[in-house]
Amino acid sequence: MPFTDIAVALQISFTYFTIIYLTGLGGLFSERSGIVNIGLEGLMIIGTVTGAFGARFFTDTLELGLPWGPILGLLFGALCGAIFAGVHAVATISFRVDHIVSGVVINLVAIGLARFLSSAFFNGQSTQSDPGGPHLARLDIPLLSSLPGGLDRAFQSLSPMVLVAAFMVVPVWYALNRLRWGLRLRSCGENPEATRSLGVSVPLYRYQGVLLSGAFAGLSGAFLASEVIGNWREGQTLGLGFIALAALILSNWNPIRLMFFAWLFGFATAIPLRLNDAPVISALPPQFIRMIPYIVTIVAIAGFVGRVRPPAAAGKAYEGGGGT
């Protein structure tokens, strides 16, 4: 098997890593603050439709051109994701609706809302926009992109967002572990009563966590639609939001480990696309390879391998302060 195939599979895996990692970070902020968020897929969907619209709107309609048009498009997707996550925040934090119930509703409503927005954005087309939207210039990573033996392909013509996602781990880790803000956010997820007794507003931090989760998932969706595919299409998220959730659980809600699992699942997603002829893999139907991330997650939460420990208070209604 030629190295180039592996290299291209790696290159694709970096793209999927970006999608899964950004969405997973979104889930991380929310769940670390104590709000279970299974609505990541829905938040991503809103990101895809608004991101695709934003990229076109800022680039062509407002004539900002490159690179500002696509950048603002991505940020617009993040903003809309955060706004939509506000629904989850209000329901779970202010009205104390069950987190799972609200998450399911988020996923359900997102599909309809995406169609509705799409028909408003794209001249009545409710399930897709015109292909070939504007995107950021592709870039080759210095040094790595001149590796010999065909491996260079893995590091060529990547979206700059891949680097943004990869380096995102630094500020996220720092904010969560070294800033007072992060400490408080995490303590809201571990022991809200104790946090409150220190004079910290638990709802305030949880709102921030949930809105951040919407922003990250929205950014990830916008990246998928405008940078990877080039247009919005219904169903293009393909359950990546759930893969992100799986990666988050396996990472034990840790941003550094999340990087590894996001890449691993990204690579698993890339295999059927590029490595069909490899030994072993060619014997398996591609659909079975797609099942791997989910099976691994089931095995892990069943406690057969390793252990996962979620934030202690995640998913529990918090009665003190704020709310109705």
């Binding site: 609706v97 119930v101 406690g303 979620p310 209604a317």
Partner: protein
């Protein structure tokens, strides 16, 4: 919870009144959320420059104004009744089965397999066998999270999410390999699908007896759905399993102390839920298409969760909730033809409805719990901050969520 103990003795005397109060409270909450949804919808309609009265009456007219319309509505409601019942059965036992989606996908595969492999059987027997195959498929898929929950404590929400995703790949695999059509269907050979099922293996159209167009694909699966609702109601109210599952759902601790085998109850609920989920896809492949296509209708399982909330997890309420959902869905047709408002408006309306239902029920339940608590003589102590664990109002989902992931933790030690 301490409040359970406080409320129980008094509840004996006041049972009837609190039961009626709960019902009235739920109805009020439902009406309030319908009102909110219609009001929010009106704002949107006005934004499109149309009159809400005209749009709403055209929706009603398209869905309830003719025999055909009613036929379409009932055909839409049929799978939703099954899926909402599947969700509700688990809710009663404090379990959150969001895996109905995956369970019905797998069931469609097992049913299609039975149709093709056992097609030699005579008509009525074949249909029965196919329905059993579907129920079995759903049960197998539900058994995995059920067994994992009972044996290892893996939380069913996470496992069912993963099982849903696996099911999507499984259907794709079945359509690409074992069940791929052997003779390309004429005219539309681009779409991946199974072979056409034998004529005798399809469920009959009943629309013709009521003057409904065959295009609605109204089938006797509707009666099966209603029968299933009655059976579930009976099971929950009048059998030992129903009693035990309600006990497990409202207070696992007391149930255990009372001698209920929690694990076995939960597993049985999962299996019943899976069997019901298995029937969700049958309207689609046996009454509508006659084969399993690649572009099968998705999200019936998740929509079932919405319908279950709307119907308050009550089997009879679910029938009406599914019909209400069908009325709205059918209304799309009216919007397409008669109005400037895009048809996606309906989905937004359904979304707002379900959001406001979830929130108003939560508020109503807390109010109700607080009031019943007050009457029980524990006023002041917990007041309005009465947690979601207190009696009254819908039970299941809150309990499922409250202990979200807890079990996972426990399994680690």
């Amino acid at each position: 919870m301490a409040t359970e103990g406080l409320a129980a003795p008094v509840a004996v005397a006041k049972q009837r009144s609190s039961w009626a109060e709960t019902l009235v409270g739920q109805l009020l909450a439902l009406l309030a959320s319908l009102g909110i949804a219609l009001l929010a919808g009106s704002v949107l309609i006005v934004a499109y420059g149309e009159s809400p009265a005209t749009v709403y009456s055209s929706i009603l007219d398209a869905s309830m104004g003719s025999a055909d319309g009613i036929g379409y509505v009932l055909a839409i409601a049929t799978p939703l009744i099954f899926s909402a019942l599947a969700v509700a059965v688990c809710f009663k036992g404090g379990l959150f089965n969001i895996g109905v989606e995956g369970q019905y996908l797998v069931a469609m595969v097992t049913a299609a397999w039975a149709e093709i492999e056992l097609g030699f059987l005579p008509g009525p027997i074949l249909v029965v066998v196919v329905l059993l195959a579907a129920m079995l498929g759903g049960m197998i898929w539900a058994a995995v999270p059920g067994i994992l929950k009972v044996k290892t404590g893996a939380h069913e929400v996470v496992t069912t999410i993963m099982m849903n995703q696996i099911a999507i790949s499984l259907v794709a695999w079945a359509l690409n390999f074992p069940l791929k059509f052997s003779n390309a269907p004429p005219g539309q050979n681009v779409d991946l699908r199974t072979d056409q099922f034998p004529e005798g293996g399809l469920v009959g159209d009943i629309g013709q007896y009521f003057g409904v167009t065959p295009g609605a694909h109204l089938s006797w699966l509707l009666f099966l759905a209603i029968a299933a609702a009655v059976i579930v109601w009976f099971m929950m109210r009048r059998t030992r399993l129903g009693y035990e599952s309600r006990a497990v759902g409202s207070s696992p601790g007391s149930a255990k102390a009372g001698g209920v085998a929690i694990g076995s109850t939960q597993l049985r609920l999962f299996l019943i839920s899976g069997a019901l989920a298995g029937l969700v896809g049958m309207q689609q492949i046996l009454a509508d298409r006659g084969y399993l296509p690649q572009n099968y209708v998705v999200f019936l399982g998740f929509t079932g969760i919405a319908v279950a909330f709307l119907g308050q997890n009550n089997p009879i309420g679910i029938i009406f909730a599914a019909i209400l959902w069908g009325v709205l869905s059918r209304g799309e047709v009216a919007l397409q033809i008669e109005s400037e408002v895009p048809r996606e408006f309906i989905i937004i309306l359904q979304g707002i409805l379900i959001l406001s239902v979830v929130i108003t029920y939560q508020i109503a339940k807390r109010r109700l719990a607080a009031r019943q608590l007050q009457r029980a003589g524990a006023a002041g102590e917990l007041d309005d901050s009465a947690g979601p664990d207190e009696s009254g109002g819908p039970r299941g989902p809150e309990i499922g969520g409250r202990e979200a992931f807890e079990a996972v933790e426990g399994s680690g030690t």
